[in-house]
Symmetry: C2
Subunit: 812 residues, 2 copies
């Protein structure tokens, strides 16, 4: 051990009795034995006879390198749990050490309780070995299938944010987070150390980061293992931690040192919490952490074919890759496995001996059985105010302008307030909560801040329910950790920059999909995104801030996981938000504007509209409820506005034209019901969009998605989609529509060009269109803002029928 | 100034003569004046008369907060350039300070040289003001339009990686990188400090990070501004830098201190480089850096409406937002602008006075005119070996298996070698270069590593051309910086995890699009991605590593920027790679497998095939060159293999069936030529895919993209696409195809079900299909690998015609 805070206690004390030392070492050897067995064997699990090729798997897949270190930490954390009755959960950054976690949860009994076919005997171990990295078995990484896990060991970099997300509002919990030195090179991990500036020692739990320096990635040394230890210590202190270093490889010495060190850090955590809670002092402490330097592939083969393996990158995956072709490798594997002395560890039936099994924690204190890692067990529904109380009233459709997300902010404020006592709801945003108009939340709870404050600050508090940091990665990662441990959240972000967490979204959606087939995993609250400051309103941010592609990214995932909502106004936004906050196991994507915009429908209609997902707006149509000449469909707030403005123009210019206006809130309803549970049945879709009439569809995002979703619909050849086509700059709101041919003038021309009965108007309308475009362009160039005709436009069409809304499906 | 390395020199010396101090301060005031003017004014630029509402813009868009600090640094960097003839370029992390960069490049003359309509007089300044954040003008951020910039000021977090990318292999260049304390919270920025472990002081240039602590983001304080300065210093030293702190707000004092500090850090940089170069010592030094703490909105309004503005987040954007409605605000604006004393700075014509203009650098030493920031000026074509020399020969189509990316590695090795002398080509990868089978490169150049080494290490060297770090963000950012400064690169990555840089790709693609309309921006080398370890071969990594969606993400961008290639074998991969390395101003996406797989066509055919982008494989077809009964199309290596295996089965089972095999290499050729320059003309497409025959299309990624791209094609209703449908786990290669219905048995069934002449075989084939599926499933479950029938399958079909390939377009 070396550190300027040298842990002299650890060097001098022998905290483990010889008896406990012997048992803990045996436990560790058993975990290592079971880990190796998973990687290599499909038979002869107890080495009852000499190993043969037939005992080994045809495909050797797995990661040994990190595993013995993880196993070592697990047994030491177990001691802490036993001796202190400490609630602990683990997060394994180097999650490819899957065999280790499977082995440990097996040894402690969790695995057999959740998977009864993996018994605690020879047959069970054989199945345990065989299923690993085996088709239809379990993945080689820590995965949803792994008891006690909330963190997939695939994409690297999110362990520490997940750990903090789990610890927030769990004051009695300590989350032990093993951080790999490989993943430490990723951006998300490098910034997530700063999560300590958002953790309140009074009301939150603790995170114990354990940086595991085993020195190598797949093919290279790691950066943090190859800087001077003084520099590494400076870095970690700069992040605000108090690091303790432990280095070694001799098991007996390492057991005593690690036990002593664990006592020190858990004492410190307790002391920090006691002080904070007794003195009501939320000042940020320097939380302890551990830097453990052990050889990669510790206790594994030291040399293979004359090359060093233990302690090098060659131990990363399968150190003896050729056991099926090379007799010496097979022999070396057998020697390696026998070096753990399985005959001392398991009895004649292959059952882990009671004297060792007994040192594991019991019941829910086992890390494999903590309910925190199966958040659905702990999930309490949110207390939600009646969203109808926030309805924006209006004298007539479209007569009142509001900032939709501001209205949502009123509602969210009361959601926050209603659940303050339960500490189970947080709002996340990358410095954009107020920019996205959700600032009314601050009336009841501020922004969490455990760093320094100054007199000029506003709304910063150690207890705030709003998490603001300029890192989409941290927002997403904290929220995932928070949800997976049974709480609720809401993430608002600029639309363009949510792509920063595309890959994190992928991993979370994949996790959710897999958990649907794991009976013991209980449903958790959905991950709710509000994207605002969207593509159409980047007046001064311009082209770099214009990207609606997250919709497409989300839509690529399984239909039983994802939901996409484009509420056209404030009332529909409220209805959608309420629905999302009640839902489970989904990713809900909501896109809504923050600029003043008309409210189109009242709350009764909004609820029916959102329930079905799409509807005919009779109040804006003039097809008399019969067959129209043209369907004007829209999805998204700006496209809805432009569509209704185009309808106004068309009614004036071509009064005899029968127009039907269809608005789509729930994008997934465009798909057939065979493809997505929200899909409209074909007959309802045909009734709404007709079987053969031209349909001009004004859409918020890239047009291709609407084509894809409607590909199998009867009328799809007649659906003509306008949307964002990657044109933009710093310009006026209406000019953005013009640049992308989504503007009202273009929609009018589209209708005329595509409606067979209007061929006689084509030339005239085309001329009109170009003259309008020119008027617009001249005005904008000269005055720098949109022409009054556009800016001041307001819906004044009269509804043709008394029924204001026809939601097709349920009214059909 | 405070630091444990307190810069006592700075406190004591007065390096600036009174005369130079006066001029530098005047220069700074001029830049600030022009910055404010851009945000607010469209007329009366020289304040020749009292300000009126009519002089101000109708929409006030821009960011003041960071701007005066940027302007301050610019004038001090100018002094360094002048006094030392130092080649300097700037990277502005807080890029929303666009007005400052526009102002400075105007003052130094760069702006007028590049944009002659912005003259150096009153009219020019009026246009300069008016165009800012004005429709069809210039964006409010640092952007491609800004002289001297390679870094868009939109999405935050990439300044430092861009700076390092620019500095690599530019030994005489210093890149001054202003890092915002807001962006410092992002993940990519937090890890990119570690770029110093990859910078060779002998052969690379230097990066001077200047962390600008102005304390606030849009709405919140920043983390780094609210930790104790000792902690911040510890953090930066932990990252390996030697930080100098400078804090203040009194201009005269700050000018002297900053000048002294700049002298110190540039002396240090020079000393470090001299030592390294004279002693040939590449040991990593502690590079100096600056932490500058100045008020946000420095020199702007101190209070507005009684609330503090200067030094708070309220100065972030437009501090006086209501100048058009509030006469006091208008008055305050005028006072603010007059506080810079424009009458002292500009002459009667509005021309910046010569005595001040003279202190700017001249010619290409001006930061606005450095050729490094307009990389196309410096770009030298790569020396490329003849890729045909790497052809994989075979006795018959499909008879030889190779790892395609391994063959590419041979070629890339020689590309590296051929350009070693010019130091203008690097290969980037997140610890995956060898995993992706490109390791032969190490025969000629290793992996760059300026951290500690150990005896066991292999292929690490301070001069390596391979950049490996476990951060896709750093790989992408370095490569962007490297390309934008006129060099070449190649980025290989696991397919699933390239999503980590989705958003960075967006920004780069948008940058490229905009530069196409800026005549003075010369074309740069394309950004080339090789994605391997793809969705179909994640045998042990499983579901979390399976995501082909980056193709879709790329396809959303403008057709004049993006290219997507799916070479089916090693020879086509070579042809594609050569093409990509020669191309300019594109993003090229190549997806290729690393597992042993058949080589289908020889190099002559490969070249013709890749040139057109798609072709009929006559050697695999039996339509005799006439109209087929069915088209079997494929794109991607695994889909091609399954398609040909299905063709084999069909030929055996239904010899009379006329099958045409079409392979698609260049995905964009599926689009009409009106949509994409690579698109096939409709007549060629129809000739290849027929107008009315069923087409079973086996595709690498999500099927919807093929539907989208072929949406307007005559035969699109008959195109039935199989691809990845988000099903997967840890399993065998063939089982992945089965899970996603891309397997040969399913393709056979698809053909039978969709070919009208085969209705009589439907029942029989369906039964056969289910029996094959069951055989497969049983075998895999029992043996853990694919059944021999599948594993050992090899193409043995005879070509029907002598012509082996018909590339449609050019042969038609």
């Amino acid at each position: 051990m070396a550190s300027t805070d040298t842990l002299t206690a650890g060097l001098q004390e022998q905290p483990l009795s010889p008896e406990l030392l012997r048992k803990m070492d045996a436990y560790w050897r058993a975990a290592n034995y079971l880990s190796v067995g998973q990687i290599y064997l499909k038979d002869n699990p107890m080495l009852d006879r000499p190993l043969t090729i037939e005992d080994t798997k045809p495909r050797l897949l797995g990661h040994w390198g990190t595993t013995p270190g993880l196993n070592f930490l697990y047994v030491h954390l177990n001691r802490i749990i036993r001796e202190r009755e400490q609630k602990l959960m683990y997060i394994i950054g180097p999650g490819h050490g899957g065999p280790g976690l499977t082995a440990n949860t097996y040894l402690e009994g969790s695995y057999t309780e959740l998977y009864p076919n993996i018994e605690r005997d020879r047959d069970g171990i054989k199945r345990l070995f065989r299923q690993f990295s085996w088709p239809y078995g379990v993945p080689s990484h820590v995965a949803p299938e792994t008891p006690g896990s909330i963190h997939e060991g695939g994409e690297l970099g999110y362990s520490l944010v997940h750990a903090f997300g789990a610890a927030y509002d769990n004051p009695d919990l300590v989350v032990a987070c093993i951080v790999g030195d490989g993943e430490s090179e990723t951006g998300p991990l490098a910034t997530s150390w700063h999560s300590n500036k958002f953790l309140n020692p009074i009301t939150d739990g603790a995170v114990l980061p354990i940086l595991h320096l085993n020195g190598y990635k797949i093919a290279n040394p790691t950066v943090l293992a190859r800087i001077p230890e003084s520099e590494l210590e400076s870095l970690l202190r700069g992040y605000g931690y108090k690091p303790y270093f432990i280095t070694g490889h001799e098991p007996a010495i390492m057991h005593q040192q690690m036990a002593a060190l664990m006592d020190v850090v858990f004492d410190e955590i307790k002391a920090i919490q006691q002080h904070a809670r007794e003195k009501n002092d939320a000042t940020r402490p320097a939380w302890p952490m551990i830097v453990m330097r052990t050889p990669k592939g510790w206790t594994g083969p030291k040399f293979v074919d004359g090359k060093p393996v233990e302690g090098t990158w060659r131990a990363h995956q399968v150190p003896l890759a050729d056991v099926r072709d090379t007799p010496e490798h097979l022999k070396q594997l057998e020697d390696w496995m026998r070096s753990y002395k399985p005959e001392e560890l398991f009895d004649a039936q292959g059952t882990f001996k009671a004297e060792y099994a007994d040192i594991a924690p019991k019941g829910e204190l086992r890390m494999g059985m903590t309910p925190h890692a199966n958040g659905g067990l702990l999930l309490q529904p949110l207390r939600l105010p009646d969203f109808c109380d926030y309805e924006v009233k209006f004298p007539s459709n479209g007569a009142v302008d509001v900032e939709a997300t501001k209205v949502l902010g009123d509602y969210l404020r009361d959601v926050v307030q209603s659940n303050l006592a339960h500490s189970n709801f947080r709002v996340f945003g990358p410095d954009e909560t107020a920019s996205n108009r959700l600032q009314d939340i601050y009336q009841v709870s501020g922004k969490r801040w455990i760093a320094e404050t100054e007199a000029v600050d506003e709304n910063l508090t150690p207890t705030g329910r709003v998490m603001e940091v300029l890192s989409e990665h941290m927002c997403q990662g904290w929220l995932e950790g928070y949800l997976l441990t049974g709480r609720h959240g809401f993430f608002s972000c600029y639309e363009a920059f949510i792509h920063i967490i595309d890959s994190m979204f992928n991993q979370h959606a994949k996790w959710l999909k897999v958990t649907r087939n794991i009976p013991w995993r209980k449903p958790i609250a959905s991950l709710n995104y509000l994207l605002s400051s969207h593509v159409w309103r980047q007046d001064h941010n311009g082209f770099s801030h214009q990207d609606p592609g997250f919709i497409d990214h989300v839509a690529s995932k399984k239909s039983d996981i994802v939901r996409i909502y484009l509420p056209p106004d404030a009332n529909t936004l409220l209805s959608v938000a309420d629905h999302c906050l009640r839902s489970r196991n989904y990713v809900n994507l909501i896109i809504a504007g923050k600029q003043p915009a008309p409210v189109w429908i009242n709350m009764d209609d909004a609820i029916r509209h959102c329930t079905v997902g799409a509807g005919i707006w009779h109040w804006a149509s003039n097809d008399g409820g019969g067959e129209p000449d043209v369907v004007m469909a829209c999805a998204g707030d700006v496209p809805t506005l432009e569509t209704l403005a185009a309808v106004s123009i068309l009614r004036q210019r071509i009064p005899e034209l029968k127009i039907r206006v269809v608005n789509v809130v729930d994008l997934m309803c465009l798909q057939p019901d065979t493809e997505h549970p929200h899909g409209l049945p074909d007959e309802d879709f045909d009734r709404m969009f007709t079987k053969d009439k031209p349909c001009i569809f004004a859409y918020h995002g890239y047009p291709r998605l609407v084509h894809t979703l409607t590909y199998r619909r009867t009328n799809h050849d007649n659906i003509h989609v306008r949307g964002y086509k990657e044109e933009g700059t710093t310009t006026t709101p209406f000019d953005m529509c013009v640049l992308n041919d989504l503007d009202r003038f273009r929609l009018v021309l589209d209708v005329v060009l595509r409606t067979p009965s209007l061929t006689h108007l084509r030339e005239e309308t085309t001329q009109w269109f170009y003259s309008k475009r020119q008027d617009h362009k001249l005005y904008v160039s000269q005055y720098g803002e949109d022409m009054p005709e556009v800016r001041d436009w307001r819906w004044s069409g009269k509804a043709h029928t008394s029924a204001s809304l026809d939601t097709g499906g349920d009214n059909a």
